[in-house]
Subunit: 197 residues, 2 copies
Amino acid sequence: MRRDVPLDHAYRLMNHGPTVLVSAAHAGRINLMAAAWAMPLDFKPPKVAVVLDKATFTRELLEASGEFALQLPCRASADLCNTVGNTSGRALAADGSNKFERYGIGHFGGQATGAPLVEGCVAWLECRLLREPHLQQAYDLFLAEVVAAQADERVFSNGRWHFDSAPEDLRTLHHVAGGHFLLPGAALQAGLLPERS
Amino acid sequence: MRRDVPLDHAYRLMNHGPTVLVSAAHAGRINLMAAAWAMPLDFKPPKVAVVLDKATFTRELLEASGEFALQLPCRASADLCNTVGNTSGRALAADGSNKFERYGIGHFGGQATGAPLVEGCVAWLECRLLREPHLQQAYDLFLAEVVAAQADERVFSNGRWHFDSAPEDLRTLHHVAGGHFLLPGAALQAGLLPERS
């Protein structure tokens, strides 16, 4: 059901503006959080940008390990997304636990990084941090190169999302505020305006 | 129909990941382009990030003037968005023209910047460039502070999008590839996962 996505199609996973989950691991500790502020940054090699607040434990882990994963939750995992977006892994880590354990969230190993990949998502992008200390400190902004990508072939194949023909539960989430999300709806093919003389 | 959006709600205009139009003016020349890679960067003061290719004429204008506008096209302006995303203003400028003239696109003056605001959009964010030369040169990434925001009150009010109760023509555009867009569809309120003991 999970299929590799060629790296030159990786930007298409995030081009339509979905909310993502960010996951990272370091020295035996793992965590995940939600981030609505993420976008593609380049085509080839594929790069991404994501905003990570200084208070987040995931940020601490990925700054230490230099790698993380972005993954796209879907309608079926909306409660998961909302839950990890409203809890902190730091206190759990102090007790030797983490959000995966506490909330029964499954994860599996990646292809190119040690970041835990979250089950129940529809796409996964493994990322290697491009260290830009000024940017990280002044703007909480993190840049990374995508080094592996996978997607659920039921809803993404041949470089395209197919929300129309897949179960509604597989639609990506687009955060508005306070756990309120929009799902992708109708598609349209735009034309070109005529030139005026 | 256009209403001011308080600056502390400005991030909500872009939180759900819409494609934007970028417009700028300098020394009597004006241009606009489309950008799918744009996102909020901070709440207060509100900031945004947007990727602008080195080849674009709009980038040249906003680097010179230090200001620009992001605005959200909608279903009704999908052809406009696709057209300005697939043409260059540089050749038109050499002839003393611009995309607004060539394609009959209306624009109006902003409240806080000299950037032309595009008619037929559903939200407008006027931005002042935060100059980060390394970032602009190495990643084509531009950061800015939002200094004024407006939205079409038929579809955005009280800090929320109301796509359900507004005409479908006012839905924002989320670019997939090649002029193919997704519109926001159903909304959902997420809950919280139970804790495991």
